[in-house]
């Protein structure tokens, strides 16, 4: 889950970069940048969840 989370962070960033390069229309560009940030947010949720401490390790 941790690796997938970090990969999603990178994937979201690449989506943002692609939006800058590929779209000239401001609205399309903004939409894809927001989509990239959405992917990053999902990745961040996964990374945070993967770092929760298992119950048996709490002391």
């Amino acid at each position: 889950m941790k690796a997938v989370g970090f990969l999603m962070l990178l994937a979201g960033w690449f989506l943002v970069l692609a939006a800058i390069v590929l779209f000239a229309s401001p609205s399309l560009r903004a939409a894809f940048v927001l989509a990239g940030i959405g992917v990053e947010t999902l990745g961040l949720v996964l990374v945070f969840r993967s770092h929760l401490i298992p119950r048996e390790e709490k002391k």
């Binding site: 970090f6 690449f14 943002v16 800058i20 940048v33 940030i37």
Partner: protein, 448 residues
């Protein structure tokens, strides 16, 4: 590519502002000491000093050569016919660099303090369990790689700064005082370090409780806040002059906005903690104060004082709720509040510039030959430029800093032994306590 010029008076004033910056580092170091345990106080101060030293040397060796300055030689990447400036190409060890009062040499001085400041931020999150040598290694990587790379993109005329010139997105990503380059970068490194280290022993129990481990010296924490204010005024003013071409006359507005943002943020934090706990919490109020300073860094030169108050107030609320959420829900044990104050507060500050920023005159954040385009170009969509910068920090800098620190941790474990943590970092790593005349934690050395 010609770099922007500074008049003699502006250079002198800029140097004065830069000499204030180490006070911000001193303030942050004192806060980290006060928010940690007494048995690790000396260790924390030693780690802070070591981080400043390692950061300065690593930055001297290769950091500045990869960061550069606006107009300095750089490697370009051609994407769809547009040149993306992605890393500087200065020689190592400041070679071929003349210290003649040029903007580049003044920027090098400014940066050598800024990189040390950024390196102090993760220390707060690793308090009471991060080994000294491991923190020095991590600092070396931050100063030699992570910081220069992102700082070049923002302050060295890199692709984030060029978004306005090349793609017409606002004035490019703007961050005059380092809310992103210093604070968010340091805060995200702090998050990575916290994840790698894990929580302090006894922080999270199996029954789901997370008892508070209070800081040992509130006076140090609050005094650190005052020192940080002075340093931050220098940081924001010098950054605005060097990286946005602000006039010297704008320094008064920058100082006022910095002070107002910190004040509003601290009072908001005090008010929220009063409502929630019945009495204002000193350490959370201090975190609110610094959160306001952090949030002011991006936009201090481009907003009115009233807007700075709004930005600071929101920063104070965000920082307090973020500290709670990270500690209780996400089980991120961050004794200094570094992640919430610097990463979350900084991200809010960067976005706030996109919302509130007003630009009365051109922003000179790119090289000289691009200036006409920057001045005449369409300048809408600043919010989008700020979003792209934040997306780069979260989507690129966080995985990079986590990966590098995780790799370091594999070869040289970051976390102190169980016995060392129980004994305290002072005795275990330095061989002497910070407060030898006081008998504290008498049960520490009894067998359990």
């Amino acid at each position: 590519m010609p770099a922007p010029r500074l008049t003699e008076v502006t250079t002198v004033a800029c140097l004065f502002f830069i000499f204030l910056v180490p006070l911000a580092a001193a303030g942050l170091a004192l806060m980290n000491v006060g928010l940690g345990r007494s048995r690790s106080a000396g260790h924390m101060m030693m780690a802070s000093l070591s981080a400043l030293a390692v950061a300065a040397l690593a930055y001297f060796v290769c950091g500045f050569s990869w960061q550069g300055f606006i107009g300095s030689p750089a490697h370009l990447l051609n994407i769809s016919g547009k040149s993306w400036n992605w890393i500087a190409a200065e020689p190592f060890f400041f070679r071929k660099f003349s210290f003649d009062g040029s903007p580049g040499s003044v920027a090098a001085l400014f940066q050598i303090f800024c990189v040390g400041f950024a390196a102090l931020i993760p220390l707060g999150s690793g308090a009471d369990r991060w080994r000294l040598r491991a923190s020095c290694l991590s600092t070396g990587i931050l100063a030699a790689l992570t910081y220069p790379l992102f700082a070049h993109w923002v302050w060295g005329g890199g692709w984030l700064a060029q978004l306005g010139v090349i793609y017409g997105i606002g004035r490019g990503f703007l961050d005059v005082g380092g809310a992103g380059s210093i604070q968010v970068l340091g805060g995200l490194t702090a998050l990575a370090v916290t994840w790698i280290l894990g929580p302090r022993r006894g922080k999270y129990s199996a029954d789901g409780m997370a008892p508070a481990i209070p800081g040992h010296n509130t006076v140090l924490v609050l005094f650190g806040c005052v020192l940080a204010l002075v340093g931050w005024i220098g940081l924001n003013s010098a950054g605005a002059i060097l990286f946005a071409g602000s006039e010297l006359s704008g320094a008064a507005l920058i100082a006022i906005n910095t002070m107002l943002a910190a004040s509003a943020s601290a009072l908001t934090a005090a008010f929220i903690t009063k409502i929630r706990f019945g009495k204002p919490d000193a350490s959370l109020t201090a975190n609110g104060w610094v959160g306001g300073l952090v949030a002011s860094s991006a936009s201090c030169a481009f907003v009115s004082p009233a807007e700075a108050v709004v930005i600071g107030s929101i920063a104070g609320a965000i920082v307090i709720f973020s500290i709670d959420w990270l500690e209780l829900r996400m089980e991120v044990d961050d004794p200094g509040g570094s992640v919430s104050v610097h990463a979350v507060g900084g991200i809010w500050g960067l976005l706030a510039l996109g919302v509130f920023g007003q630009f009365q005159r051109p922003v000179l954040n790119v090289a000289g030959d691009s200036l006409p385009a920057a001045i005449n170009g369409i300048a809408t969509g600043q919010w989008l430029a700020q979003l792209i910068g934040v997306a780069t920090l979260v989507g690129f800098v966080l995985p990079l800093t986590y990966g590098v620190n995780r790799l370091l941790n594999r070869f040289y474990p970051f976390r102190v032994s169980v016995e060392g943590e129980r004994q305290g970092m002072d005795l275990h790593e330095l061989g002497a306590g910070a407060y030898p005349e006081f008998v504290t934690h008498t049960d520490e050395f009894l067998p359990r």
